[in-house]
Amino acid sequence: MNTQPRQSRRQSTPIAPGFTRRTFLQGVGVTMALPWLESLAGAAPLPSAALDQAGGTANALPKRFAVMFMGCGVNPDHWWAKNSDTGIELGKTLEPLEPIKAKVNVINGLFNKKSTNQGIHPAQTGNLLTGVSFKKGSIIQSGISMDQVIANHVGQETIQPSMVLACEQPMTGYHESNFSNAYSSHISWQSPESPVPNEMYPSLAFDSLFENRGSLRNLSVLDRVKDRAAQLSRRISATDKVKLDEYLSSVRDVEKSIERMRVDKDKAFERARDKDQPVFTMKRPDNGLPEDLREHARLMCDIIALAFQTDKTRVASLILARDLSSLYYPFLDVNQQHHGASHTDTSEGYERVARFHLSQMAYLAKKLDAMPEGEGTVLDNSCVMFMSNMLSGTRHDNKKLPIVTAGGLSGTLKTGRVLNYLEAGDENRKVCSLYLGLMDRMGAKLDHFGDADSRLAGL
């Protein structure tokens, strides 16, 4: 759904070559990140000093990463892609990506060794993005997931370090393999012991962006703390006051820095809106959970798109259907629960389920691609990765993982390719190597991650 007026793209010529608002701000000593908006069109020319300090365009645009997940595998008969003369050729399930296939990579044959031969379902899911061995029984232990590693590296620059969303409620308790169902329900882990709580409510996910929830809350706390310190201050000795003032001024300092960030964000956003700039806008979703899965998934994608475009966050994860999913698809004429349906994964019905979820990814990617940014689009500066925890649900086979990405991460990730690693040998087809490569490009450079200590060759 492209909501941007076409001509705005042409109007928004950068004021000076190589200039971006971000670099300008850095040049004048403001280190806070701002949404990259083409909102300076028509603004006064910049002082040349600022221009001198500005770097290249591509470097300055923020990169974003999203991972979308569906549990229980796909229909392996229809999940394929081939290189051909006219770009890549896509199997039936991947067809929704046809319009943007030049910006897509289909990556075949990767696997996560630590989640093989452990047990089915939870044991194939809980470490999908962490790549570590994990524990059975009631003690939950996985690792920090790659999206959260990125968030830890780049999250401080935005209002929300990451968004962790889901269209299905998490399960608790234990699977019969004696692994916790928490592993089936969460792909994003902030610490080995605790997953990031999934946000299921579109309304709350939306609010978290626009209410600046975290910073607003901190401001309230600091405000109260300041009052208390002031009250105390009246009853203490002069020397004690000196110590307490140290506290007070620290509080004020932190408060100011939070406020500055809020004000900057809001201003940039307002300015863009006033000038009818192409910021995607959406209505605040209603409270409660949408009854229709299609609506739910689309709202979640819209929120991610909005958050990416306005640089409220640079990292998102979305569980469309968790592992052991109990979603129903009456609108696809499938009358079994997702998980049950996956046990006959080559059925036409299950193909429709997989294609439905893949089309959510296509929807988000196309949406980002319709958002102009710099010389390209937001998608060009992003990577949206879609994956499942296994290829075949019937056989619970996760020796190969279905993975497809969209977006070029500001030119650092070549697209329009089909990459095959199945024949490369187990050492050279680690999904954690892919993560290392992606994390590199997102600015989180690690020596090793999970079971990998090298980048995926040819990425």
Binding site: G173, V225, Y247, E291
Partner: protein, 1024 residues
């Protein structure tokens, strides 16, 4: 040697104090003497090295032109005095040396100045600066406040320490914006562990944000409760048997309840067992055999307890065996018209299949309510036709891999004597079995099971009889435990835990949503139309309520679904219909009850919040405090639209961030002069001294009563507190900084390639040893001289091995006191591995560092820092050309170096029998025999640890006591010492000396001292 003392006069303490004309006159005289005699003395003998140009040891004596200047810099002048008095200065190489009379004139002058200062201000509380809690104190405080040891400051930068080496004074503890941000993060982290209970709230050891964490918490609370109950029949039989033979066991007066307690079994159930064994008549049925076994038990005989134990186990095994033969069985059921094999598609295809949550719950209920009953069909009555086995092959859902599974039927062999019933006797036998099974259930509680009810071997791990296949949820199945074993109090506790489970983790609600009987079925017009359209940003206008009418957990939706299920049940198994009629109202009732409980609980949470704040602030809240906190909560709810739990969490964060918690401020009641601390401030002072943490209820009760400052009360409290486990903090924080091993856990100098024995376990054990020892001195009120001379120490298996002691078995956290550690050349602090290792640079020992540690940390001597051009010794002992001691001797030959090295080298050389990681050795790393001889000032030639101890005993013991007293006082007061503290130090030494050097005597002196009890007025020292 003169008494070393640590005297620091705060920069502003002299000039502005209250005036008295006599004192003024004395000061004037002292000033005159300074200008006429002392100043010229300095000019003549000192400033050529300690002047503007050269300023050796960073001392410029030209900067002092009056008595006031000198008093401002007390500690340095104390050092000057020390050097002059000991005739170390001017050094022998100096060109000019003062005649004895000239020297003594200067010395006398300073002595007079000290006396003047001391007399005028003895007992002055001085300035105890307000300060934030140190990292360690913050951690301990959070532990005691929340009940969980979260260590929120673990990633904070290390606190700087004051000149005495302690990190708990306002002089060194500062705040900065970046640190404040960390506090904010830490406060949020702590608040993430919060969870609300039906009454009040608590904190869990892990975050409580994700459902899975809440779930885990609630489940383990219940399982832990189960595990605390004794359900082993053999234990009950042992108790009953002991009671029977109480006379023979030498306890003729003990009651049944006494034996219950002694055997840690339920008194209630033991009474039931006793009655069943002793008073119940049994002429038929399973009890007959049990009685026979009971009677066969031997009487207690010495050394034959094993025989009786075997008998108890036989009785237990018999019960388990016969009980298993009559367990009830329930086949899967369905509702409505469903295919015979039960494999309907989806939960709502045609009818309701046996795998539906409704039917699974039905089955759970059947088992849970039949644990104290039996299956009469299993009795083998003579003359009755054998009952055909259950037709499990045609059971609904029997074949599905992921279905409810096949019931495992009970197959008893024909002619089983346990089950045999004579012809026509069924009724009598059934009555006997019923009685037996009501006392001996098939299971006391269901703790864990597999996916299918009977198929538990391959897939255990579903706690609390919960969830079908991948469905979650927990089902309570503990009727026998509840009815037979638990007393009223325990029943209440267990009921509360199950209620809490819904309250904390919304388990029933999520179980129902997961079952999902009404969700996303249709594609109604409303759903179709709800495609998001482009519109302006709308900020949230209404709060999000968890009880949205739209939610499938709403009463209306549940009832709709109920009706739909009932309609589908038509024409099927009436039990299925009944199951539906039981299930939905049960779900609805539970959800509504939880909802209501949550609403009802809100006032109790706010009450608990105020209590929490009171404890956090360590004083009663004022009305203003309360209003302030409650309005913060209110604003979060009303203005910021947070739900109750989120608003509570924010309120907790704000309490944790409040300066009232994070700072220690003794509120000044008067404007000037010395006044008593309030009893609440005193309670904090005492608890941060002895526990490095907040006061407990008892202490606050004394603060409230206003009697804490009374000497009897405060010393009694101090004694009580020192016995408490929290006193460990005194050993760690005081001991660790006094003896400078607090940071040992991070030591990186040891080459683990060369010393493979130096594992992290050993390092941890080395760190722990002085803590255990210090804590023992503190808690057993031992002599402080034991630090020096004790023959005992504490070891765990890894340290015992390192010390060459007999091998210990056990875990690393099992520590024992070794009374004869002297046999291994250990005992007391001096030969502890932690100090020997810390004061060795890696591949060799360092007599210099070890000696310096002894004279500086243990004996309190002040050694100037080494000059910048000091030559480095080679790093590897194995590569030395000469023994280390010879190289040191050569170094001392240089008079520039001798002045200092003469003071400590010998103290380190005696430790040469210990290698770089504190291991005992005969040869150094270069293969040379070690030599532990050393000579001390005064000509005493000694060898080894014993020699050092003898030297200390003869010459330095008072130094040690003075040093310990001073350091403890600095730590207790949270400030550096002043000249005017000198009398207190002397007093502490006198008292402890006459009281067998007991540690707690030092504490008594401190907590009853005016320094500890008082505070300066708020305008004192204002004009700094």
């Amino acid at each position: 040697m003169r008494t070393p003392s640590l005297l620091a006069v705060l920069a502003f303490s002299s000039a502005t104090l209250t005036s008295a004309s006599a004192a003024d006159a004395t000061l004037k005289r002292l000033d005159t003497r300074f200008k006429t005699a002392v100043h010229p003395f300095l000019e003549t003998y000192c400033v050529s090295c300690h002047g503007k140009e050269k300023a050796e040891a960073e001392l410029d004596l030209t900067a002092y032109s009056s008595v006031a200047d000198v008093l401002k810099d007390g500690p340095r002048w104390d050092l000057v005095l020390e050097r002059l008095e000991s005739e170390e200065m001017p050094p022998s190489k100096a060109k000019k040396h003062p005649a004895p009379g000239v020297r003594s004139e200067a010395v006398d002058w300073f002595q007079a100045l000290r006396k003047y200062e001391i007399q005028r201000h003895a007992g002055d509380p001085g300035i105890v600066l307000a300060r934030r809690l140190s990292n360690a104190e913050f951690n301990y405080t959070i532990r005691d406040l929340t009940g969980v040891d979260l260590k929120p400051t673990r990633e904070f930068p290390a606190d700087p320490s004051n000149t005495a080496g302690f990190d708990n004074s306002g002089e060194s503890l500062t705040m900065s914006p970046s640190l404040l941000k960390k506090y904010l993060q830490a406060a949020r982290e702590v608040a993430n562990h919060l969870f609300l209970k039906p009454e009040g709230f608590a904190f869990a050891a892990h975050p409580m944000l994700a459902e899975t964490d809440r779930d885990k918490y609630a489940v383990h609370q219940i399982i832990d409760f189960y595990h605390r109950q004794n359900t082993d029949y053999a234990a009950y039989f042992r108790a009953a048997w002991s009671f029977k033979h109480r006379g023979a066991l030498g306890k003729p007066k003990a009651t049944l309840a006494d034996f219950a307690a002694a055997n840690r079994v339920s008194a209630k159930y033991l009474a039931t067992i006793w009655a069943t064994l002793e008073t119940e008549k049994a002429d038929l049925g399973p009890l007959v055999k049990l009685h026979a076994l009971w009677r066969e038990l031997p009487a207690p005989r010495p050394n034959e307890t094993a025989v009786a134990q075997k008998g108890f186990e036989q009785m237990r095994d018999y019960i388990v065996k016969v009980r298993a033969k009559v367990e009830p069985r329930f086949l899967n059921i369905t509702a409505g018209k469903i295919a015979a094999n039960g494999q309907g598609r989806g939960n709502n295809a045609q009818g309701v299949n046996s795998g539906s949550q409704v039917m699974m719950i039905w089955k759970n209920v059947q088992y849970a309510t039949h644990r104290m009953k039996f299956d009469p069909v299993q009795l083998q009555v003579e003359g009755e036709a054998p009952v055909p086995p259950l037709d499990v092959a045609n059971e609904s859902g029997a074949g599905g891999e992921f279905g409810p599974g096949r019931t495992v039927p009970l197959i008893n062999q024909p002619g089983d004597p346990d089950l045999a019933v004579p012809e026509g006797q069924r009724a009598r036998y059934e009555a006997a079995w019923a009685k037996f099974c009501a006392v001996f259930p098939d299971k006391f509680y269901m703790e864990e099971r597999g996916r299918n009810y009977f198929n538990t071997k391959i897939d255990r791990g579903r706690y609390l009889s919960a969830g079908f296949h991948s469905n979650m949820g927990y089902f309570r199945d503990d009727q026998p435990l509840y009815e037979l074993i638990l007393d009223d109090q325990q029943r209440k506790e267990l009921d509360a835990l199950w209620i809490n489970m819904d309250f904390i983790a919304s388990t029933t609600s999520r179980m129902y949503v997961e079952f999902n009987p009404g969700r996303r079925q249709g594609r109604g017009a409303a759903a179709e139309a709800a495609v998001p359209e482009v519109a302006a940003i709308e900020l949230p206008a209404t709060p999000v309520s968890s009880a949205q009418a739209l939610e499938i957990t709403s009463e209306a939706k549940i009832m709709q679904t109920f009706d739909r299920f009932l309609a589908q049940a038509e024409g099927g198994d009436p039990r299925g219909t009944q199951a539906i009629k039981d299930y939905f109202p049960w779900i609805n009732a539970t959800l509504r009850a939880t909802e209501k409980a949550k609403l009802d609980a809100e006032p109790s949470h706010l009450k608990a919040l105020l209590e929490f704040a009171g404890r956090a602030y360590r004083r009663p809240l004022t009305k203003e405090d309360k209003d302030d906190l409650l309005s913060f909560y209110r604003v979060a709810r009303d203005r910021d639209k947070l739900d109750h739990e989120a608003a509570m969490r924010e309120s907790i964060v704000s309490v944790l961030m409040a300066p009232d918690l994070a700072y220690r401020i003794d509120l000044a009641q008067t404007t000037t002069g010395i006044h008593r601390l309030s009893d609440y401030d005193l309670a904090s002072r005492l608890s941060y001294f002895l526990w490095a943490s907040m006061p407990d209820d008892e202490l606050l009760a004394h603060a409230k009563a206003g009697d804490l400052h009374e000497p009897k009360v405060i010393t009694a409290q101090a004694r009580r507190m020192l016995k408490d486990p929290r006193a460990r903090a005194l050993a760690v924080e005081f001991g660790g900084n006094w003896l400078d091993f607090r940071r040992f856990e991070g030591i990186g100098t040891v080459d683990v390639e060369r010393f493979p024995a130096f594992t992290s376990e050993l390092r941890q054990a080395m760190f722990e040893e002085p803590i255990r020892f210090t804590l023992d001195v503190i808690q057993a009120n031992r002599s402080v001289l034991d630090f020096l001379y004790a023959k005992d120490t504490f070891v765990n298996p890894v340290l015992a091995k390192h010390y060459g002691m007999p091998a210990m078995t056990g875990r690393a956290d099992e520590w024992v006191r070794v009374a004869d550690a002297d046999r291994y050349e250990r005992g007391g602090i001096l030969p502890m591995a932690v100090f020997l290792t810390k004061n060795a640079p890696g591949l060799r020992t360092s007599p210099v560092k070890r000696g310096n540690w002894v004279v500086k940390n243990v004996l309190g001597e002040r050694i100037p820092p080494p000059p910048p051009n000091v030559p480095e010794l080679p790093q590897d002992e194995a590569k030395l050309d000469l023994p280390l001691r010879d190289m040191l001797a050569r170094h001392r030959a240089d008079p520039n170096c001798a002045a200092c090295h003469a003071r400590f080298d010998s103290f380190g050389l005696v430790f040469e029998g210990f290698g770089p990681v504190g291991d005992r050795r005969e040869k150094d790393l270069g293969g040379r025999a070690v030599d532990t001889h050393a000579s001390f000032a005064g000509g005493a030639e000694v060898a080894g640890l014993e020699g050092l101890r003898q030297h200390i005993r003869d010459k330095r013991q008072t130094d040690f006591v003075n040093n310990l007293s001073s350091k403890l006082l600095v730590y207790a007061l949270g400030r550096s010492l002043m000249l005017s503290d000198d009398p207190l130090i002397q007093d502490m030494r006198r008292k402890v000396t006459t009281d067998s050097y007991r540690f707690q005597t030092l504490v008594d002196s401190i907590v009853t001292s005016p320094q500890f009890l008082n505070k300066r007025g708020r305008d004192d020292f204002a004009q700094r």
